[in-house]
């Protein structure tokens, strides 16, 4: 088994996905299948190979420190599922 039920629970929580027991079984089997396929990568000799984060072989451009107008408060909150005053509203966060 490449991925245990506990690991499925762990990644579901890390990814903030609520999944039911039936779904969990299905995902575990499918992920296991996929991860087994990934095993082939172990055959590849990658010693002294640099990992590649993306195809562009340049360096990140720099923007001048200029201020441009922000969104109006109406536009900033237009898509909010819940708001209060000019804030987004969420269930209470306890630290």
């Amino acid at each position: 088994m490449k991925i245990t039920p506990e690991e499925v629970d762990y990644v579901a929580l890390l990814g903030r996905l609520n999944i039911g027991p039936e779904e969990k079984k299905k995902y575990q089997a499918q992920l296991d299948d996929i991860l087994k396929y990934m095993d082939m990568l172990a055959e590849v000799d990658t010693d002294n190979v640099e990992p590649m984060a993306g195809p562009v072989e340049l360096h990140t451009p720099l923007r001048e420190d200029l201020v441009l107008p922000s969104l109006s408060i109406e536009d900033a909150l237009a898509n909010a599922p819940a708001k209060i005053g000019s804030s987004f509203k969420v269930p209470k966060v306890i630290e």
Partner: protein, 486 residues
């Protein structure tokens, strides 16, 4: 004059400038076509007739004022993952809810500035994750050649709209084959440009280091016109490459005599579909008649492309899709107790199974203890794949292979077997891994009458080579002129 919806963009541009027709008339013709066919094809998530006609009227004014650009007044469909200001952009997902972006994607801005007419948003696999356009929250799109079949994905709506003549041209996005595969399955022409050639600003991200926007059209002439419009540096995208691009229409008539195409043995050893093998052999003959030489070459790490891709793309996706949490925009669950529960329920309700699968897969690959074995290993294999291509291009101008191992398959055939679905992209994924341009062109038909696509792959920023080769092929063949009986 043929019916307006039958004409390509370059043909329409000609009759628009000559005054034989107007953009409003063209747009009406397309809207009527959409009305007639959408029930059976479902290429669109949203059609916007009123704003399309407004844009067409504006295009007509531009033309009348002598301010027409080459694509002014041409109706286009846009994949539902590109932000259009104040218009619902859903990415084929429930989680975006009624999200209306307060800004235009750079490509959308370019189309608007050129006076193109946006017909609506094309259907797609949810968050571009899929090869069949079946994972859309809005239901599957059907292949215009056979509505029992999938159109390919994830830009299935964009390809089907062009094939069914519900749009003159369209925009798709391609992360592992999502333009080329549906183009091939729907018998149209599509290109994934070099990574960094077209701005990703405003493209809802799936896998940022692989995503690239590109055009889909009925012939390569229209592709060249759209590349002229789309390619170019965007200071709002840090991965956009500053460079000059040629006029892609300038190579349309250019001879291909003496050019060399490479045949990767690793691709051809995998071919077990007779229709595809025959199509490739026929195409080779056509190219040889045009004076092209073929060389065998090896891409030794190609076999690892899918494994590496399905680590890298989900890893990036797991992070890119974290923002859909029900706080700032989009869907929020009604039932929850506390913030974590709100996140978990919102995302469980908002995402479909394929998206959840990839989020979990990517989260796993990045998680403590697995990062080196999965993400880093895959990123190293990516380097090897890229180096294979670099070496291969020392002996050829472009690489030639099929777009997919088979023609379109049946709806629901692979939906419960993700691994089988992933293997559909075996020929397209390596191109994204290396960031190369890849073109899909119609190459023939299966015995069941389904289109089969060819693929041409060029070195970085050598799109003009793909345009030149494809244009030569389309001068010699008429597969791209065939249209489904609808």
């Amino acid at each position: 004059m043929p019916e307006l919806h039958d004409m390509t963009a370059s043909e329409l541009a000609r009759v628009l400038i000559s005054g034989e027709t107007t953009s409003v008339e063209i747009t009406r013709s397309l809207l009527a076509r959409i009305d007639k066919l959408e029930e059976s094809i479902h290429a669109y998530v949203t059609v916007a007739p009123e704003s399309a006609l407004d844009m067409a009227a504006e295009a007509d004014r531009m033309i009348a004022a002598g301010k027409a650009a080459p694509l002014t007044g041409i109706p286009i469909a846009i994949k539902d993952n590109m932000c259009i200001k104040d218009r619902k952009t859903s990415c084929g997902s429930r989680i975006l809810g009624n999200f209306k972006p307060p800004y235009d994607a750079t490509v959308v801005r370019r189309l608007k500035d050129a006076g193109m007419v946006i017909l609506g948003s094309a259907n797609m696999d949810e968050f571009a994750m899929g090869s069949s356009t079946e994972t859309s929250y809005w239901g599957p799109t059907r292949n215009p050649w056979n509505t029992e079949m999938i159109p390919g994905g994830s830009s299935g709506g964009s390809a089907a709209a062009v094939a069914a003549k519900e749009a003159v041209v369209s925009l798709g996005s391609d992360t592992g084959g999502s333009i080329r595969l549906p183009a091939a399955f729907c018998g149209v022409t599509g290109i994934k440009p070099t990574y960094g050639a077209v701005s990703r600003f405003g493209l809802v991200a799936y896998a940022s280091s692989l995503d690239q926007i590109g055009p889909i059209a009925r012939d390569v002439k229209d592709i060249a016109l759209l590349l002229n419009l789309l390619c170019g540096h965007d200071p709002r995208d840090s991965t956009s490459v500053p460079r000059e691009y040629p006029d892609f229409t300038s190579v349309l008539e250019k001879s291909v005599k003496g050019m060399t195409l490479g045949l990767p043995t690793e691709f051809f050893s995998k071919l077990d579909n007779e229709d595809v093998s025959r199509t490739v052999a026929d195409a080779r003959k056509t190219f040889e008649d045009l004076g092209i030489k073929f060389v065998d070459l090896s891409l030794p790490h190609l076999d690892y492309g899918i494994a590496a891709y399905y680590i890298i793309a989900p890893s990036e996706a797991s992070s890119n899709l974290a923002r859909y949490d029900g706080v700032k925009y989009g869907h929020r669950a009604e039932e929850y107790s506390g913030i974590i529960d709100m996140y978990c329920n919102t995302r469980a309700e908002g995402f479909g199974p394929e998206v959840k699968r990839r989020i979990m897969l990517g989260t796993y690959a990045l998680s403590s203890g697995y990062y080196d074995a999965y993400y880093v290993k895959a990123a190293k294999v990516r380097t090897l794949i890229t180096n294979d291509f670099k070496k291969a291009f020392e002996s050829c101008d472009a690489i030639f292979c099929p777009t997919a191992p088979s023609p379109a398959f049946r709806i629901e055939e692979k939906i419960d077997d993700p691994m089988q679905m992933y293997l559909t992209d075996v020929f397209t994924i390596p191109v994204n891994m290396a960031g190369l341009p890849g073109m899909a062109i119609p190459g023939g038909f299966s015995r069941d009458g389904l289109p089969i696509g060819l693929q041409l792959i060029a070195p970085h920023f050598k799109e003009e080579v793909l345009v030149q080769l494809s244009a030569a092929f389309q001068r010699e063949t008429d597969y791209h002129l065939k249209t489904p009986a609808l």
